[in-house]
Subunit: 355 residues, 2 copies
Amino acid sequence: MTDTAPRNSERLVAMITSPLESEYAERIAAAYPAQVELIYRPDLMPATRYVGDHGDPAFRRTADQEREWHELLARADVLWDFPPNERLPLHELAPKLRWVQTTSAGVGQLVKRLGLQNSDLLITTASGIHAQPLAEFVFAALLYYSKELGRLREEQRAKLWNRFCGIELAGRTIAIIGPGRIGQEIARIARTFRMRPVAMGRRNDPARAEALGVDRLYDHPELKQMLAAADCVVVCAPQTPETDNLLGADEFAAIKPGAVFINIGRGTIVDESALLEALQDGRIAFAALDVFREEPLPPSSPFWEMPNVLVNPHSASTVDTENAKLTELFIRNLGHYLAGEIDRMSPQLDKRQLY
Amino acid sequence: MTDTAPRNSERLVAMITSPLESEYAERIAAAYPAQVELIYRPDLMPATRYVGDHGDPAFRRTADQEREWHELLARADVLWDFPPNERLPLHELAPKLRWVQTTSAGVGQLVKRLGLQNSDLLITTASGIHAQPLAEFVFAALLYYSKELGRLREEQRAKLWNRFCGIELAGRTIAIIGPGRIGQEIARIARTFRMRPVAMGRRNDPARAEALGVDRLYDHPELKQMLAAADCVVVCAPQTPETDNLLGADEFAAIKPGAVFINIGRGTIVDESALLEALQDGRIAFAALDVFREEPLPPSSPFWEMPNVLVNPHSASTVDTENAKLTELFIRNLGHYLAGEIDRMSPQLDKRQLY
């Protein structure tokens, strides 16, 4: 790739800045070889800890490596991911940069932190890529609870054959906070299980509800009403000033007793002490949490030790097929970019709404 | 009910012979009070151990209770369930009996054991009632494995935040052995998860595959070919001479390495030592077993202690909504019976095929 490709100042320079398996880098390099020079230097990036890993935040380059890395960044027109752990502003590191393809969906707050909210940098995200894995995790957690798999495993260890009665998903109401791509995917699967999906969004009109595939759409003032009616509440809203602390003591007090609570959105949406209290007094029967206010979840967090909480280390979205899909997305966007079809590149980050 | 209803020799006598919550018995009694006398004597039946329990097989009546029970049986035209643990033949115990509604789907072998295979007794079963709960269990087990929930729980206990990569269901092939009501339900849900459902049935024609909602239908000679192509194999066939030992050493040797195996059909379909071997050498990555050759599973069974086996005590079909559905089914069938619409009663047991 960068070593073997003929130098051509006319070519677009695209640089991979987070770990990626070489097979995918090769696929990208092979897509438009005459028009794109791909910089792919796994030796200057963290080793992958698992399939789909986008980088150990503790990784550091040597001074020599850092110099080389910055020389490469200075040449880049396009980046695969924001380079992590940089002290200098991105426009100084990469003055030619015009487009970044991220490997995550929720990059709004990062973009704000990088001061890029008002820049004309084009940002396409991984929004949508994680919809199915996250929806799968929602049903994994919901079925784990409904079919009492945790208790079953304990009885199995004790060799106990105790017949029992599980919960059927059919007929239950699932409330989705944030009916974006992920929420709509959850609603679609819920429907197949003959559940009744409802959601909270900006507006509450029936036409919008139908378009999103839910039975009813509640607006923010109706949130508690929705919580009181739901057997399962799933948070998949993005992190924005609007969603900050959306669920506090009042909301958890309104939740239907015995409900299941699942957060695959962002930790900031939930007042964790209020959630903890609702879990301790049993109002919420079971919670599956993939995101937290502080990540990694500190050892002092009571969530670790609660039998009715399933802690997932922010990995619900990470599946074996992720980088194949991201590669495909990047190549498609690259094609549009080269053809000047900026409008067809997707999904683009809305820098005003930050998602 | 039997105590308060006016005696009327013209009325049909229906008797509940397995535990049922009084609310459902009342609903049945109230359906056709002028035409049906309902015998419901919870004092002569086992206490329910859990919602949806159809009776502790260890339960015994006193001699007095037994006499009264048999006097009631002698009056019955219709039974809710075959009365368990009787030594005398059913036609002697209940000479007037014309119709039995069972609370289970797989009653073929029981009917054979009772010598009723060639009788003109009408038998309607619970076939279909358990399709959704069983399909839910299949996805509970498949997602438990794919999202590594067992390992996650262990890491949670150790307060370990190790990000990881799960398996995505999308794109995987799920092979269904026995595409009846349950199998079709599984195929329908698999499709929503963007899996590729295939099945083994009697015939392998494409039109039949389409009607069943699967991508491809294999016949028995093609079984090993199907097993080699599937990421997940689900057994939901009935117990018949044809399915006895359907899956033995040859079949498990043909299975795709790393596959998930789920049995919600009958234990007799599987050669358990061959399955054990495939699990021990890792050819099958994970198995969820709801049924066994011997139930309760004896303490000596190695399945109890295997970390890659989930043992369910034949409870995958038992959910909180079961008796409500069975009651509704019975009342509907009762209406058809009273109207002489025998053909409209369903699902009827095919006494020749025994399912």
